[in-house]
């Protein structure tokens, strides 16, 4: 996985709460057996008209936000289905950071597996970042993972929390499976023990 250090780019505002994974990527696009190429259908039903053609009102279709790298979204972002196609589409579009007041659990986990940093901030900070995101392409936000800081286009600095293990994996582009396989002997030991304790499993 690519290493994640710092993002300096356009932030787009999506204040709607409860943006679910069906909105992020509708099921018609889940029939792929690949991970790539889903950016074009990100937010499909909001982004395109029923008869095809872009909806000019949708934030990511506006000229200022076509190169968005940071999404500032409403509460409970990513609720619903476990589909990893949601972070795949976000990543493929070019978005590397999503900021909200809360995320749904499975979506939150899925982001880290794909080199996306989901950041939870308090409501007052969220309001500042949302306002900054409304300023368009000339107002770029910076997200620095090592320092755990977001800097707005006005230079306001907001600190954020991130799980140390996940931070380490993102910074170093580490693959979870490889890391876990290094602990293989612990899994062997557990299986030996469990097969005695609960042989019916």
């Amino acid at each position: 996985m690519e290493k994640f250090e710092k993002v300096h780019g356009v932030a787009a505002p999506m204040p709607l709460i409860n943006i679910d994974t069906d909105m992020i990527i509708p099921k018609v696009h889940l029939k792929t057996i690949k991970r790539s190429g889903l950016g074009v259908v990100l937010f499909d039903e909001m982004r395109y008209h029923d008869h095809g053609g872009e909806n000019e009102e949708f934030v990511l279709n506006k000229p200022a936000y076509r190169a968005t790298e940071i999404l500032v979204a409403g509460d409970n972002f990513g609720c619903g289905s476990s589909r990893e196609h949601a972070p795949w589409a976000i990543k493929d579009f070019g978005i590397k950071v999503v900021i909200s007041t809360s995320f749904a659990d499975i979506f939150f986990n899925n982001c880290f597996k794909n080199g996306i940093l989901p950041i939870v901030v308090e409501e007052e900070h969220h309001a500042v970042l949302m306002e900054d995101a409304h300023k368009g392409e000339n107002a770029r936000m910076t997200v620095h993972l090592e320092d755990q800081q977001i800097t707005t286009s006005d230079g306001v600095v907001i600190a954020f929390e991130v799980d140390p293990h996940r931070k380490h994996c993102l910074l170093n582009g580490l693959d979870d499976i490889g890391l876990t396989m290094e602990k293989d002997h612990h899994i062997d030991k557990f299986e030996d023990h469990a097969s005695q304790a609960r042989p019916w499993v």
């Binding site: 029939k31 057996i33 659990d105 499975i106």
Partner: protein, 467 residues
């Protein structure tokens, strides 16, 4: 020893390794797999030359994409769906995992097949690349959905990297009123907590009204724990659980059954165990409910009216305005005046035999209103066969319902069963999101009995009027 919750006990029994920062490797007892969230995971294994670590604990069944019409014996027409199902056929064979192919009578929705075949047992850890894995919590198993990267991780290592969630108790006291079901309980709880209310928690459901539920009802309750944002929902195993499990094809037998039972009987929350959050509802206060909006938290009794956006606070004001517009409703309109075009009975929430019995009970001797589309999609081939044996299929067919083959069907509309833009559906499924049942489709979630009532009258209806 400090008192433990049921969740604490199952968690502690499955930690294979704990790092200094509390990150654990949690051992997984059962891994369920379906065709939509697994192809990329198997591809990852192939590219890295890794086998499936525990194929005997891995069970696959196609459900999301499969057509539910009788002509599916001729193959799947949609080429993309066909490729996904064929990929699962091949992956199951290549990696040597248990498999129920489309034409097997045991095929069905993964969360119905697992319990039915006795794969799901109390005290287990169960995962699947599907958010409704929470269903299996009904057995006192720690069960939750995972993404495709985690599917690959479990296939390769039989573990997940996890941090422990907090404990939440949802107690439903007393008895339910006539016409009120497990679906009404689970929707009422989400109405109370909101869709993010359970985020960061594992819920244990308890109380008399939960104890009184059958396993089918308990699965309905736990199934929607995820819609409340919780990682998992749990119900402590008891005689009802053991009675359901005993004799199933993959349940333990003989001396193993006795040994298992001894352990299962220790799986309860100790007195004085700590819960970080507690919600209590009185069973008597729960009414038959429906959803009016596009989030499962938009729940109201069927006797209520569509709310005004201004009744809410914060971001919910705009969300409610958007929902009401999308749903084609008006604030102040009586929910029981809302006319529907389609009725869908099925899904991992309500596609079990008891659900079909409850709907058939209301439909007996009645007809679906003229011009409506109504369909029943049993949750598995075995549920379907049992319903035919019990005469339920005849009741549905005589009433004017389509009697389909097993699959996820119109719950998420990945197969040909979809709503058209603007069509309105009374559905026993679990999500009323925009476009969930087809682009522009409008979904009202409710119980099987309420769905049957809507089919008869052509509008959202208080089932108690037909009882």
């Amino acid at each position: 020893m400090s008192p433990k919750t049921l969740y604490d006990k199952i968690w502690d029994a499955h930690v294979a390794h704990e790092a200094d920062d509390g990150t654990c490797l949690l051992y997984i007892d059962r891994h369920l797999v379906h065709e939509v969230t697994s192809p990329q995971a198997f591809e990852g294994l192939r590219m890295a030359g890794r086998p499936v670590r525990a194929p005997e604990k891995t069970i696959a069944v196609p459900d999301h994409n499969v057509p539910t019409t009788a002509d599916r014996v001729n193959g799947i027409e949609n080429p993309e769906s066909r490729i996904q199902v064929e990929a699962l056929d091949k992956n199951a064979k290549d990696f040597g995992i248990h498999y129920y192919p489309v034409h097997d009578v045991r095929q069905g929705i993964v969360h119905i097949v697992g319990p039915e075949q006795g794969w799901t047992l109390p005290g287990m850890t169960v995962v699947c690349g599907d958010s409704h894995t929470a269903t299996h919590g009904a057995f006192g198993a720690l069960a939750h959905g995972i993404g495709t990267s985690e599917v690959e991780h479990v296939l390769a290592t039989q573990t997940l990297i996890q941090k422990k969630s907090k404990n939440m108790k949802v107690e439903i006291t007393g008895k339910l009123q006539p016409g009120v079901t497990a679906k009404d309980i689970t929707l009422a709880v989400i109405g109370e907590t909101g869709t993010a209310g359970g985020t960061g928690y594992v819920i244990e459901y308890c109380g008399e009204a939960i104890r009184d539920l059958s396993m089918e009802g308990r699965m309905t309750v736990c199934n929607m724990a995820i819609e409340g944002g919780a990682r998992a929902g749990l119900i402590a195993p008891d005689e009802t659980t053991y009675g359901y499990v005993k004799g199933r094809p993959h349940a333990p037998k003989g001396a193993q059954w006795e040994a298992a039972l001894n352990w299962w009987k220790t799986l309860y929350t100790d007195d004085d165990a700590h819960f970080d959050k507690v919600i209590t509802l009185r069973g008597e206060d729960i009414a038959p409910v429906v959803t009016w909006g596009t989030s499962p938290e938009d729940v109201l009794p069927i006797t209520a009216t569509v709310p005004h956006p201004e009744d809410f606070e914060g971001g919910k004001v705009d969300a409610a305005r958007r929902s009401i517009e999308y749903m084609g409703l008006e604030a102040g309109q009586k929910l029981s005046d809302v006319e529907v075009d389609t009725v869908f009975i099925g899904s991992c929430t309500n596609g079990r035999i008891e659900d079909l019995r409850a709907a058939a009970e209301i439909l007996k001797g009645k007809k679906v209103k003229d011009g409506m589309r109504a369909m029943v999609v049993p949750g598995s081939g075995l549920v379907r066969a049992q319903a035919e044996e019990e005469g339920l299929a005849e009741i549905f067919k005589e009433a004017g319902f389509e009697w389909r083959l097993a699959g996820c069907s119109m719950c998420l509309a990945m197969n040909p069963d979809q709503l058209q833009p603007g069509e309105r559906c009374a559905a026993t499924s679990n999500r009323n999101f925009e476009g969930r049942q087809g682009r522009g489709g409008r979904t009202h979630l409710l119980s099987p009995a309420m769905a049957a009532a809507a089919a008869i009258t052509g509008r959202l209806t208080d089932v108690r009027e037909l009882m």
